[in-house]
Symmetry: C2
Subunit: 321 residues, 2 copies
């Protein structure tokens, strides 16, 4: 297999792009894909300070690496969620982030928020005391991460939070929302969520990169990352959708990319319009009204106290009640 | 397994409806599903004369049977396409239709149009001489069937053409159109296509019935049908989508039904709007402008001669050229 650009030995076959690339040309290709997404969706500029949410996985570390190599000002945020589940998940993933900084970008800043140190317990205990975490702690975990990311971004004066969501992630979410025709969610899903009323701007620079491209990038750049998915994500519907969509991609290379990009194009051009009705106001309104939490001062859709503060309140009552 | 209605031995488990039914209750259930779809989408009334397009397969024969048993005036139309492919496909499917009439509804009228008798050749030869049939004759076949169905419906004064498209068929088409976000097609796909300018009304009364329900209905009613799919449909993308969607349904019973019905609801309620742009005018405009074919007098989107007439014209030139 020869590199389509230089004829030397290729290391990867990108079926969806009809490209076979050698190591050097693939690294270039990946960086340009990210740079083009940043420009195409006007995500940020070189003068912006970015907070990259890193989990120790391939996507977020590849993202941080490529942003720094492209010359952006990017600091990392690792949230230690206190998940062990017999494989030391949180401890290992934190180590990966620290090793990445030490080995690849010794000058880069990694902010760490440790849930157990700050609040006295991690996600598993918190979820156990919480109705919505009865089956899976994922809803609680998502809420906690969004809250902390937003607080750190706001307090640190960052221009945007960058997350490592890749094309496969976005396609799985789009597929899920499309299967149920959730107009509110379909109206909102985007590579950029603008800042508003205390909610930091959110950007997804890897939105055009397939998961296997990030894995290849991390491998070729010598970035060690945590291979395990979060143990709580096992059996998640999103994973089932990803497998289904992989079957689709196998049969029709670029199918996932087209599904996602055609969606954005059709919506941006007005060919397809989504309007949240009364019915979807609660779960997926395009622009839910924001208030300020009377406890923590962060934006919330609740009347007074935000979901994050109420979560810890209930947890405290449970512990002492 | 006990019938959810009467406690006697059940013959089918309808996971998506949380129902197990005995033979008698399943036959009732299937008929009511069809009747409810007819009413819900205001397809037709008892005084309407219907032309049921029958292929000899389970869906169209089940449809014709259930319409007659529900008291509707339904005549059959069988189009002999001249497809043999070593399994006598057309000959066998015609026999199935004739046996159905003789055995189940001896008084029912079956109209037969034989392509070879009328035009001198069948689909395979026609497709071979046609660019668009180079890979698969399916596009040519669809065009021919639509033309003949419309002609017979118009000449016979029928109120509507009823086809046996089931939920699985509709979902596969919806899935295909959604994967590419084809706004024009998504605007049009519906259980009813209204009559307009010489184009007969088209209705799909089985739109809420799963394929396996039609198969069970045919089996229990003693309707013999052709098991083979058309030999040319092997390996079709639609079949691949159907398998993918079956995996989805297996994991989440009712997923297909929800995907389709939520789509119709979201579009009807205006939560989702599709607008055909210039780009999609050619292939899938919501309401393409119709003219009259100067050869056959049938409606066409072409400037003068319709695609059907041009097809035979080119075939004649090829044969004599």
């Amino acid at each position: 297999m020869k590199c389509s650009k230089c004829g030397s030995s290729a290391v990867i076959n990108l079926h969806q792009h009809h490209l076979r690339l050698c190591e050097a040309h693939f690294l270039d290709f990946y960086s340009s894909m990210v740079q083009r997404a940043i420009e195409h969706y006007t995500m940020f500029w070189p003068e912006d300070r970015l907070l990259v949410a890193v989990s120790g996985g391939k996507d977020s570390l590849a993202l941080w690496d490529v942003l720094l190599r492209l010359g952006y000002q990017a600091e990392g945020l690792y949230i230690s969620l206190g998940i062990d589940e017999g494989i030391g998940y949180s401890a290992n993933s934190r180590t990966m982030c620290e090793k990445f900084v030490a080995g690849h970008h010794p000058g880069a800043l990694l902010h760490v928020v440790d849930l157990r140190a700050e609040h006295g317990c991690g996600i598993p205990e918190l979820a156990r005391s919480e109705l919505r975490g009865r089956n899976k702690p994922c809803a609680v975990c998502g809420l906690v991460k969004r809250h902390i990311m937003n607080r750190v971004a706001r307090d640190g004066g960052f221009s945007a939070i960058a997350t490592g969501h890749n094309l496969d992630d976005e396609v799985a979410v789009l597929f899920q929302n499309t299967l149920h025709w959730k107009a509110g969610y379909l109206a909102r899903q985007a590579p950029v969520l603008d800042e508003r009323e205390g909610l930091a701007r959110k950007v997804k620079p890897l939105v055009r990169c397939y998961e296997r491209e990030s894995a290849a990038y991390a491998l070729l750049r010598g970035i060690d990352y945590i291979y395990d998915e979060c143990p709580f994500s096992k059996g998640a519907t999103t994973n089932f959708y990803k497998e289904l969509l992989n079957d689709l991609e196998m049969r029709s290379p670029a199918a996932k990319q087209q599904f996602y990009l055609h969606f954005l194009q059709a919506r941006d051009s007005g060919q397809i319009r989504f309007e949240a009705s009364d019915q979807s106001t609660v779960e997926g309104e395009a622009e839910p009204l924001l208030r300020i939490c009377t406890r923590c001062g962060q934006p919330t859709v609740a009347q007074d106290v935000c979901a994050f503060c109420r979560l810890w309140e209930r947890h405290g009552e449970e512990k002492h009640g």
